[in-house]
């Protein structure tokens, strides 16, 4: 299983803060995003590129497509608004 964590407005827009999905779904972070966007048009809209600032795999911010497998945790971060 892969754990997915949603932050900020994504949580409320998707109605979920964390979920576990079968690791068969996707070999890497790009495939994971495709998989989630294919759920329905709402997911596709909410998870549009403009709404995703960064992905985090196992607490490391990633800058390129990154392989994922069972046991990994992926965080999906919307644009940040701290300070």
């Amino acid at each position: 299983m892969i754990t997915i964590r949603y932050f900020g407005f994504l949580k409320e827009a998707l109605g979920i803060s964390e979920e576990q999905i079968d690791a068969q779904c996707c070999k890497n972070t790009a495939e994971l995003l495709d998989y989630l966007r294919n759920r329905n048009t709402q997911w596709a809209d909410v998870l549009s590129d403009a709404n995703i600032f960064k992905l985090v795999v196992n607490l490391n911010v990633i800058h390129d497509v990154t392989p994922i497998s069972s046991g990994d945790e992926v965080g999906i971060l919307p644009p940040v608004t701290g300070g």
Binding site: R5, F7, G8, F9, E12, F53, K54, V56, L59, N60, V61, G75, L77, P78, P79, V80, T81, G82, G83
Partner: protein, 155 residues
């Protein structure tokens, strides 16, 4: 000496400033920034902010920002404290202090750290207004522009 702290309890810039000043041995310059929750930016006044972050990742991202500042300007001590959770109007939300030999390094590093913290550190702000309505704050283009300024105005 670098210190990065995310906390839910109130942030006291006076207390932090006292500690920071005491530790800034041989430094000729201290610049500090205090960010405070404003109540009247919108039509309906704010009751409080709620700030979410990504534990561990936020600290690591701030450490990267401080390190990047350190490669550009020579400074000795740096503290970054950011509050999360529920923060009332007029309360401090973020405090950054830099101590260095001379003033320019401290000014530049503190401003750089704040500009990058705004655009790179995983914090998300939700506004809860006095009428009970609430909304996640949208990222500002002006913050991106302020950050990009440092690409050219490196020092």
């Amino acid at each position: 000496m670098k210190r990065i702290q995310i906390q839910t309890h109130p942030l006291d810039p006076i207390q932090e400033g006292m500690t920071f000043q005491k530790e800034a041995i041989d430094c000729g310059a201290i610049v500090s920034f205090t960010g405070i929750v404003r109540g009247n930016d919108n039509l309906i006044p704010l009751e409080y902010l709620y700030i979410e972050h990504f534990p561990e990742v936020t600290e690591k991202e701030i450490a990267l920002i401080v390190h990047e500042a350190y490669t550009r300007w020579d400074f000795k001590n740096c503290t970054v404290i950011h509050r999360v959770g529920k923060i009332a109007v007029q309360e401090p939300i973020v405090w950054v202090a830099v101590a260095s030999g001379h003033r320019t390094e401290a000014f530049k590093a503190a401003e750089f750290i704040m500009d990058y913290l705004k655009t790179d550190a995983p914090f998300w702000k939700k506004e809860i207004r006095v009428d009970g309505s609430s909304q996640w704050v949208k990222a500002k283009n002006t913050d991106q522009q302020k950050k990009q300024r440092w690409l050219y105005d490196g020092k």
